[in-house]
Symmetry: C2
Subunit: 221 residues, 2 copies
DNA sequence: ATTATATTCTATCAATCTTTAGATCGTTTT
DNA sequence: AAAACGATCTAAAGATTGATAGAATATAAT
């Protein structure tokens, strides 16, 4: 085989990964799967697409070996092939944030209330959490928390925050997080908490971002 | 604007990066630009495509803000927008290598002579080079060497190796490298050198891979 | 077995992308 | 100013992809 043909083959293979992440919906599915494994119907609902379309996109991701499946009774659960896929999601999103002005603007529009954002140092935050001087609040669905969460984090899904206010201290800073920079759950939780008299801020990191930084994540294996 | 609309916008922006790297030729252009800035005609020749097509692909890369241009007389030089694009190239290639069996096979077919490949530790190699116990040979074109190269490396473009054999010692191991795992120049140089009685091996790293590992690179700024 | 549920496969249309060719634009040289 | 050259733009053909609907498949419950 000629050198040129082999080269074409090599780049074509890498482009398969590129094609897999060239669709907004597939990226959203990857981010959702970075939180925890999920069945098709749930992925479809969370990404706001039909089950059929979700299935088609997941098939592409599977052909690119980015996701794997597991059947449990009637349901088929999808999960990322391994940690490097989540790392890749973080890296392509970061690259996009760095290079696409429109993305920065859209992100800024989403979190106009910049004061909510904690620019805190990650390791310092970890230390404060360890000493119990702040409360780290995971507002994602319980199952995603179970699949892995920041150290010392307390699980309180967004929908439950209002009813479970009593569990939160008024005298300590509360730092909320959710799925990552594109997720609005932490933002909503913080808005609610501050209205109720708590000292709440949020960080943009999700578990994938946290882990991609080489920081520890609590998970049941 | 509704939450769903903003989300769609965010993922669409990231997908623009995905689309930019969803084409084999664009990936090849990125790899070429990771070596050094280059004019359109040269990129077209090295990627074995027409100037028109190269121009069209480069336009897409520019719209995704992955590359920038500079005019010098009649020529337009393209360069990567910044180092993170080269890092991204390394990361998507690694992901592809890890997940696509066909890619592994194609790569294996390319370097059937596994004995040529040095599985050496990078820092150890750096130390040996510093002490002058090995010769690190950069077989890429001179201009790419000038734009940045491994520490202590000697520039000897593949086409010149045969004539410049006298410059190389017979009693020291020679470690050749070129543009990265997809590049065949180092492989060819090693084959030639071993036939001439030298102790030559190669590493798959190029400058981008080296730098992505956080290792130092010599460059004129 | 039959039915219900979850998922995937197949077919289709519209939209998008790749590639090529011809025309155009900008810069340098004569 | 004209010619030469490099690069880009525009237009068009063919190929590929995204999204939707209907048919088919696999498992669980009846």
């Amino acid at each position: 085989m000629a050198e040129r043909e082999i080269k074409d083959l090599l780049y074509a293979q890498v482009a398969r990964i590129g094609k897999a992440v060239a669709s907004p919906k597939r990226l959203e599915l990857i981010e959702l799967l970075a939180q925890a494994e999920k069945p098709v119907d749930q992925l479809a609902a969370e990404a706001a697409i039909s089950v059929k379309l979700a299935s088609a996109h997941l098939k592409e991701l599977r052909q690119a070996r980015l996701v794997e499946t597991r059947r449990e009774g009637k349901r088929v659960f999808y999960r990322l092939a391994d940690r490097s896929v989540a790392d890749f999601w973080v890296s392509i999103r970061s690259l996009a944030e760095a290079h696409l002005l429109e993305l920065k603007n859209a992100l800024a529009r989403m979190s106009e209330d910049a004061a909510q954002l904690t620019p805190i140092d990650r390791s310092q935050m970890l230390e404060l959490a360890r000493r119990g001087e702040i409360v780290v609040l995971d507002v994602r669905p319980k199952l995603e928390f179970s699949a892995g969460h920041l150290p010392y984090a307390l699980s309180m899904p967004l929908a439950e925050v209002r009813k479970r206010l009593a569990e939160l201290p008024h005298d300590k800073p509360i730092v909320a997080y959710c799925r990552g920079p594109f997720c609005v759950m932490a933002k909503e939780a913080v808005t609610l908490l501050n209205r109720e008299g708590y000292r709440a801020t949020r960080i943009e990191d999700g578990v994938a971002e946290w882990r991609a930084q080489g920081l520890p994540v609590e998970e049941v294996l």
